[in-house]
Symmetry: C2
Subunit: 335 residues, 2 copies
């Protein structure tokens, strides 16, 4: 049994920089035709020159692979219309982080009032630059995403022409919000389709499944699965694959992030096949993103075959999701 995916896209991807970039970028480039590259480096990506340099590092890391890095800027209140117009061709989206909410988001936005954000958002809206958002408050960890929904809704109402991406949604509340606003869309990760808080902390605690936003309740996962399994046009795949070296995960203070890049397509195929909706995976991993972002990714076909393989315990010191476990599908080739 085989599955051909046309131009699979990972619309939320952390490639890091330096040695880690060189280690993980080829794994995404092998399986995907493109990805939306998150800008939360240290320091964050905030200028055209930084975008160009980061893109060049990525291209160097992936070599000959057919993979397009769709670049992003780290949202700053200071961005002017002229600056954004100039940089428009270099980026696909701008990522907004509330301050301090996840890895390397210290320089994010502390005051999320619409009026503070309005000048930049008006410029983005006029220039057709989508807004990508890590939507969490600083409230209780299980409530943060649901508490952020009113902010999404205010932005969606105030800027009806702005495409707003609710990144890595984890709750039924977020799914419901998608239906109330034409200009709201969402990415969903592999791990939030796969696990709940039970997998992280219901048995032994499993730091390699620790991520932000934290995995939620079974009914939340059900709501996410419904959307993904339908290939619903409002949602697209974004892995949020976030590599940390093993010693930062198996530690007294463990960094947030699940490393899924090298297992994402096989694990998604297994999930979708298990739900009897393998035919909808194409929409979830590519077609919806093309339409939402209006992009034409490189012409690349990825062939998966139904053949068991054991996921390595580590890729260059980074422990992937499903490490040491068997997956039923594997990537055979990409052309």
């Amino acid at each position: 049994m085989e599955l051909r995916l046309r131009a699979p896209l990972d619309m939320h991807l952390h490639l890091r920089d330096g040695e880690m970039l060189r280690s993980v970028a080829p794994l995404s480039a092998r399986d995907f035709a493109g990805g939306l590259i998150m800008p939360n480096l240290v320091p964050p990506v905030t200028t055209g020159e930084m975008v160009r340099e980061y893109r060049a590092s990525i291209e160097e890391a992936i070599g000959e692979e057919k993979f397009r890095p769709y670049m992003t800027l780290f949202f700053q209140e200071e961005y002017s219309y002229d600056f954004l117009k100039e940089v428009r061709e270099e980026i696909l989206a701008i990522k907004l982080y509330p301050a301090g909410i996840t890895t390397n988001s210290e320089g994010g936005i502390a005051d999320l009032s619409v009026e503070r954000l309005a000048p930049v958002l008006e410029a983005m809206s006029a220039l057709g630059i989508p807004l990508s958002v890590h939507g969490e408050t600083d409230g209780f960890v299980m409530d943060r995403e649901a508490q952020f929904i009113p902010i999404y809704e205010k932005l969606a109402l105030r800027f009806p022409d702005l495409t707003i991406i609710m990144e890595h949604i984890t709750t039924k509340e977020a799914v419901e919000a998608l239906f109330r606003h034409e200009n709201l869309y969402a990415t969903i990760t592999l791990h939030h389709l796969s696990i709940t808080l039970d997998d992280l902390a219901g048995g032994l605690l499993r730091p390699h499944l620790f991520c932000k936003p934290i995995a939620k309740r079974p009914e939340d996962r059900t709501a996410l699965r419904k959307m993904a399994f339908l290939g619903h046009e409002k949602v697209m795949f974004g892995s949020d694959s976030a590599p940390h070296p093993r010693e930062k995960k198996e530690a007294s203070h463990c960094a947030a992030g699940v490393f899924t890049a090298p297992v994402a397509l096989p694990a998604l195929a297994q999930l979708f096949e298990g739900a009897g909706v393998l035919e909808n995976l194409q929409k979830f991993v590519s077609d919806n993103a093309r339409r939402i972002y209006g992009i034409t990714p490189p012409d690349k076909e990825v062939l998966l075959v139904k053949e068991k393989w054991r996921v390595p315990e580590s890729y260059g010191g980074v422990v992937p999701m499903f490490a040491g476990e068997e997956l039923e599908w594997r990537v055979e080739s990409a052309l």
Copy 2:
């Protein structure tokens, strides 16, 4: 400033065995006049001989310290009235674990129907042996304790003369249940008075704060604090101090348990003083337990002084709660 506690008791304590026992028992014996010793060894403590042997190991480990180990049996459906009558003088309570719910509970009870448990519980009731319960279902990790409440209530109604201890309660639902049944009591840990799920997983993930039952929501902690701070007669201190070597905590699969024995009294004094109820700590850490269990612990006075000290990073390879942090009170002497 100083605080004198008369015969402080830790009514839920894991002392383990072997080398770990020798390492941690002196820390409890230094600060407390006695403790209820959990029986979940490998294999669990299920016979009079095992109780005597375990007690002897504990007494050897604590040497000359004035500390009474109140022993428990691991609940088994097979216990007969005659067996329990014979062992009555050796134990203070019998601990019931649902199968597989926490560390070394594989031999626990899979079928918790009242009729299955009735013969043993009737014998315990007749002999005046309290029942100590780890009250969690195998449901979603945040719901397990609340889901178990109906089982507590059935037991409380069916065996009105049986003293039932809801161990290490973590939810407002459990607090509410205490008020519905005369024969229900509870222990509360230091860590559940101190943290919520946010402390475990809201920032970086902190495996040394990972425990079962898992820390819950802020409103749950508030409900626990109200009871403890009042020195309410329904609740008593049980640390659930559960040492694991560092390498079992900072690992891909982290064991559940917070090691609080060496910091418990200072941290409790700090919490109670912060709430303006230092005078109620005596009830919480001793008087209530004496009355609920009808015990007369060794005559021991523990003197705490308000003097900052830094908690060690580790005690014999076990990382304590508040490792490396400053506490405001310290144990000066015990006589």
